[in-house]
């Protein structure tokens, strides 16, 4: 069994006296997709925020590729190979789709403290951006300003930007949010192609997508892990049925 690309141990986040995330231990391996599901308010987004560095943990450990990264600043974690997409689209609205990805790709230059050559002349950066856009299915829309993209395209752009940073670990927060049937199917296909080369953590409400993609499922309720295992194991788990899957038809 290979080393997990991402590992947490007893991860905890307290807000005042409230534990939004409590005692969460999980692993993500390259080539496998680990889905995290649970009702609203279960702490799934907080968990992703802890892993991406948006929030600092109150307790526990996070290990990335064997290295401890607990409490590191977000930009450091990103540089170590973690890419994160947002539930509520968090892109550069006034820039084109290409520029959005180009900036993401530029982050992988050894340093952006470069003042002379025009940014658009860095061929390797442009290529990485174009590749990411193509992978996310936005090749034809590169020149469109992000504010003018459709909602589904913006979600694709979210993923494209994450890919452009060439991460080892992908943290995806509800990439399918607000998408129609056709767009969702396209996104699921995209995610499926990505699993082979990345360790993926997916937070989602769309159960069809989750069961189609996940190798491992973790169910969270009220900040705690209720159950964890293969999709079949989870489907058969009574507690999970009661707490969540019973009314998960949204």
């Amino acid at each position: 069994m290979t080393e997990p690309a991402l590992r947490t141990e007893a991860l905890q986040k307290l807000f005042g006296g409230l534990a939004a995330v409590n005692d969460v231990s999980l692993e993500c391996h390259v080539g496998r997709l680990h889905a995290v599901i649970g009702p609203n308010g279960a702490g799934k987004t907080t968990l992703i925020n802890l892993l991406s560095g948006d929030l600092a943990p109150s307790g526990g450990r996070v290990e990335l590729l064997g290295k401890e990264v607990t409490g590191l600043a977000a930009h450091r974690i990103s540089q170590l190979g973690v890419g994160r997409s947002y539930q509520r689209t968090n892109i550069f609205m006034r820039f084109t789709a290409f520029e959005n990805c180009r900036l993401a790709a530029q982050s992988r230059l050894p340093s952006s403290m470069r003042f002379l050559r025009p940014a658009v002349r860095y061929a390797e950066v442009n290529d990485a951006a174009a590749r990411a856009l193509a992978l996310a299915g936005l090749r034809g829309r590169a020149g469109v300003v992000a504010a003018e993209l459709s909602h589904g395209e913006r979600r694709q752009l979210e993923v494209a930007m994450t890919l452009a940073t060439q991460p080892k670990v992908l943290l995806l927060d509800e990439p399918l949010a607000g998408m129609g049937a056709e767009e969702s199917a396209r996104m699921v296909e995209l995610l499926r192609t990505l699993v082979a080369g990345h360790a993926m953590l997916l937070v989602e409400h769309d159960m069809d997508a989750v069961f189609a993609l996940a190798d491992t499922l973790t169910v969270m309720v009220n900040g705690n892990v209720l159950a964890s295992g293969t999709p079949d194991e989870i489907r058969a788990n009574d507690e999970v049925q009661k707490a969540y899957l019973g009314d998960a038809d949204d």
């Binding site: 930009h75 892109i91 820039f95 530029q106 403290m113 003042f115 658009v120 930007m161």
Partner: protein, 316 residues
Amino acid sequence: MDTQPRSLQIILIAGLVALAAFPLVGEKFYIQFVTKVMITAMFAMSLDLLVGYTGLVSLGHALPFGLAAYALMFVSPENGAAGVWWSLAVVAGVAALASLVVGLLVLRTSGIYFIMVTLAFGQMAYFYVHDSKYLGGSDGKYIYVRPVLEIAGWQPFNLENHVDFYYVALALMAFVYVTLRVLLASPFGRVIAAIKENEHRMQMLGFATFRYKLVCFVLAGMLAGLAGWLTAAHDGLVNPEMLSWHQSGQLLMMVILGGMGTPSGPILGAAALKLLELGFQGMTKHWQLLLGGFIVLSVLLIPRGLAQLFEWRRRD
């Protein structure tokens, strides 16, 4: 992105040609006036780097400007001239150091608080200089001879000559303009623009945004220092008012009026305010009424600043 409308490019080139030809036909008073306007335009461009491009609204930009002016005064001998190169180097160093120290502190805040903290540091510098006898107090001090540039005995220009000074100022203004354009197109510049758009996302993409803002703050300070050096050399006088919030405030007005985040905005804003001031002063004793009225009307009628006047609607 930042490609300018054709009409504006043509006007800028025409303007440059007109400025180059002006000393041939202008009187000394007006040549010196336009020199001051060009220096102010440089000062405004340096502030726009912070305000328009990075989204950092500083109300203390007079600090590096004024400190640079005082630095030149310090290194200028009473009976001789300072050398252009090394006095510029000293001044740039002073401005950079001051901006670095202030930046490390103020960049921890944002929004209105950033504005106020930059104001605070500007005011502290103002009061320190104002109340210091050895710096000349509220009267300030003189610089008796303008800096001299000598290369192996040859002087390419003589700053004591107002026409020479004019062309030096024009060349430097063009230099600052080009520098900013290059800077903004560079990887650094793209990071800065993106920080203004969505700083949080930039951090998530792996950029240490604080560092970039700090470098930008220092660069803007150095350019302000250049303007300070020129102003002190031109006026032959440094006084605490160069550090006051009025100075910072008026500069900010020029940047906003001209159109923030546009390459030519600061130049338009500086030119407009200075020219209107001169023009209105010639018309009536109560010129502030006219200038104030102009400002109020332009805010109400031209939402994005004077640079907007040159944008012919290509897109909706």
